[in-house]
Symmetry: C2
Subunit: 299 residues, 2 copies
């Protein structure tokens, strides 16, 4: 049995035919259009040939933003042109298949827990490190969504009690200090201060170029990353104390650094902390969305 | 059907016969002995007459400390003379009844979720404010314990990134700023600074005397409590973002202040935060332990 998984993000959309083992049989990527009608039209156009060839049984949608899983609606999404968009119904009607939806972090954790970094773990967390910090919670093998589908904001506990206001309504949130944005800001400041460093010569600075400069021996980049890892470990340790999961999976661009990130984290972690980087990377969303669809068929 | 619930704390032990509605039919309190053998002997002595009269079907034990629920053992407890103590087996053998055990915070939440402040809530948290800050997590109507029974340390996320070391292994933990200990320290400092204040005249300072001084119009006590409430709200808001529970129940001595505490918290809370104080107070442990025993019989 196969299902069609979709991963809808701010810059691109992936559609994939996925089998019961989480193998992607066919994958299509399209850009994210800037208005809702065009975006949905482009998804339908890309999905039809996949459906004609592979005959998936259902559609699973993973989307950025705030999702009402029960009603199949994208309530709102910072980087997507959706507002109270009944995406499930529209795609289901157009494609002639049942459809289910969840947020991107939940889909990624579903994939990692079935076929990835925390396969067979029952209590696990996903922490996605990007522009902000997102998350998802697996308890007793089930995604914990809460009554309003808004559980898992693991980047928004107060980490600096005297920190500055966060758009979320709190202040000093952990994501202000440990997101990819925060790492790049710290690296930019360090590069400005050391204009002759390899780090400074590695601009534009992003997760990849910062880790590359460090790997090539730049002491400035190494110090930036060591400080960043200590901060990230603070938050992961906090989540360990609260959840005591058997595994925390790191996702998002920064997690692509893999062992170069983990080896810096380890000295700062509690003995109980088991931290891994995503095994499925950029495909976790599509695979998890497809698993979500498969699960819905068996219920 | 009735069960015998026990609440074993550092200064006292309560034993109660509890019915299926959470009503306490008979309650006995004894002091906590300083060695393990005497302590267990005193529990057995107090339990026997209750059993002879009420014929409970099972024993539920709630204990401070770190508990191995599966093996029925108190691994260790700061305020109790237990070390790898097989308490379940010893009490079960001596009393001739099946026995189960859990930590005190989990028992309190079980009681509040069945017959107290968060009755019929499926996703709820207990935050107990005492010497430290403890907690318990209810997900989908079930206590979430984690593989090692150590989930729920909601007082040990890092709240002050540059804060001082905590015995838990982290630093700047939330409990350092929002425990009853922290409140009393802040009140003592304020009383020392304002020796003519009603707060200063209210020594010895504890939750009760501080709230009393504030209620009697002491501006120094009121300022201390307002600052404390803002700090406590920071942590509760953080837990709301992570769990999005339908209710957080506050327990421990500070929660006895009831509306005097809640009214100070409210201005600082997120709109999604539903915070209540314990409805069962000091009896929650006994009632929850008895419910735990009833649940074990029906499994």
């Amino acid at each position: 049995m196969t299902c069609l998984g979709m991963d809808i993000g701010g810059t691109g959309i992936q559609l994939g035919i996925v089998d019961g083992e989480g193998q992607i049989l066919s994958l299509v990527s399209i850009p994210t259009a800037s208005d809702s009608e065009t975006l949905i039209g482009s998804i339908i156009k890309a999905a039809r040939p996949l459906i004609d060839i592979h005959h998936p049984r259902a559609v699973g949608i993973g989307s950025a933003g705030r999702i009402d899983c029960a009603n199949g609606t994208v309530l709102r999404a910072g980087n997507l042109p959706f507002k109270n968009e009944p995406l499930c119904r529209k795609l289901s009607d157009a494609l002639g298949l049942p459809a289910v939806i969840d947020n991107d972090a939940n889909c990624a954790l579903i994939a990692e827990a079935k076929a990835g970094a925390c396969a067979d773990h029952l209590d696990a967390l996903m922490v996605t490190i990007g522009t902000g910090i997102g998350g998802a919670i697996l308890i007793s093998g089930q995604i914990y969504r809460a009554h309003n589908f808004r559980a898992g904001e693991v980047g928004h506990f107060i980490y600096d009690r005297s920190g500055k206001p966060c758009p979320c309504g709190l202040h000093g949130c952990f994501e202000q200090y440990a997101s990819a944005t925060a790492l790049i800001e710290a690296a930019t400041a360090a590069a400005d201060e050391h204009p002759d460093s390899l780090l400074s010569a590695s601009r534009p600075l992003n997760g990849k170029t910062i880790f590359k400069a460090a790997a090539d021996g730049c002491p400035v980049a190494n110090e930036v990353l060591d400080r960043y890892a200590a901060t990230l470990a603070d938050g992961l340790n906090s989540l360990v104390k609260i959840f005591m999961p058997t595994c925390i999976v790191l996702g998002g661009g920064i997690a692509n650094a893999g062992d170069a990130l983990l080896s810096r984290l380890t000295p700062h972690l509690l003995p109980e902390a088991v931290i891994r980087t995503s095994a499925l990377g950029g495909n976790a969303g599509v695979i998890g969305a497809a698993f979500l669809a498969m699960d819905s068929l068996s219920r």
